[in-house]
């Protein structure tokens, strides 16, 4: 066997195999979270009944910003969990739903059929969604009391994840 050729072949092939193997560990469709650890972007959005919400409104307590839409089935599955969490944390955590690429009348109809314990704001032309780097729904951002994004979750939230980030910020939670 020509060991010299085998050595050079291995030198070429092994790094490529390692790079490919590392690639299998990541989801190629997942959009990276580059805003974690940075201040949340400013926004000014309105609820269906005309109340304004901005980033400043969230300062002073932890917050969960949830981008969702009525046409999104995973968002519907997540809705019940978020409503429960909002009741559990009460006024210790501010939950805010940001409706993404949807119509006001559809949202109003949805909310009359399902429980709703926190404000829902409309995001025309996805202005705030783009500012937050949202790639699709559901996507949620957990903010600390200073308005810094401490976690971005692309996909359906779960209770364990919420507790992991919110409980340390909330003294005693619930």
């Amino acid at each position: 066997m020509n060991w010299k050729k085998a050595f050079f072949a291995a030198l070429l092939v092994v790094p490529l195999v390692v790079i490919l193997a590392l690639g299998f560990k990541t989801d190629p469709h997942a959009v990276p979270s580059v805003l974690e650890g940075r201040p949340a972007p400013e926004f000014q959005l309105m609820t269906l009944d005309g109340k304004a919400w901005s980033l400043a409104s969230l300062h002073g307590k932890p917050a969960v910003l949830n981008f969702w839409a009525t046409w999104c089935y995973p968002c519907q599955a997540e809705h019940a969990l978020l409503q429960e969490a909002a009741q559990y944390y009460g006024d210790k955590v501010q939950f805010l739903g940001v409706v993404y690429q949807d119509r006001g009348e559809e949202v109003a109809r949805y909310l009359t059929r399902h429980a709703n314990h926190y404000p829902q704001v409309m995001d025309p032309n996805s202005v705030t969604a783009i500012d937050f780097g949202v790639a699709g729904v559901p996507e949620s951002f957990i903010l600390n009391p200073n308005g810094q994004i401490i976690h971005k979750e692309a996909g359906v939230l779960n209770g364990a994840l919420l507790r992991k980030f919110l409980d340390p910020m909330v003294k005693g939670g619930g």
Partner: protein
């Protein structure tokens, strides 16, 4: 007639460097987060259209191409630019293909040179003999013709 045709084409052609042209050029460099293989300038998704609107708004506000690209990179990461940056970890994406091509060409040339040297020394026969040990008469005829 051809002059009128030329004038008609010139009049109906879009103005170079118009806002739409600039927005389209920038949009072709940015990846759609929904249809991830497509640029936002060509993607049919609502998100892409909203992002294109943002590009146009930023151009109207006087931002240049670099600032607009930077805005999206700040929010989506380098991933949002269809051509990866020529620095850091992604520099490999640019360097590796030409490097491998050069390596392949180099190996190919070296192999050809070795084969030629071996044939010149008579070590390698370009035409394998037939099973009886003689050269195929048809091939011999072609060789004779070539060397004439």
């Amino acid at each position: 007639m051809s002059l009128w045709l030329l004038l008609a084409v010139l009049v109906n052609s879009p103005a170079p460097n118009s806002l739409d042209d600039q927005a389209f050029a920038i949009g072709r460099e940015l990846r759609c987060p929904v249809c991830q293989g497509m640029p936002i300038a060509e993607s049919p998704s609502t998100m892409a259209q909203d992002m294109m609107k943002r590009v146009r708004d930023m151009l109207v506000a006087g931002k240049n191409e670099e600032q607009i690209r930077g805005y999206f990179v700040e929010r989506y990461g380098d991933w949002v630019v269809l051509d990866p940056p020529k620095e850091g970890y992604t520099l490999w994406v640019w360097m590796l293909p030409p490097a491998l091509l050069l390596l392949a060409v180099g190996l190919g040339l070296r192999t050809m040179r070795r084969l030629r040297s071996a044939r010149a020394l008579g070590v390698v026969s370009p035409t394998p003999p037939t099973s009886t040990g003689t050269v195929d008469p048809y091939l011999q005829a072609i060789r004779d013709e070539v060397h004439r």
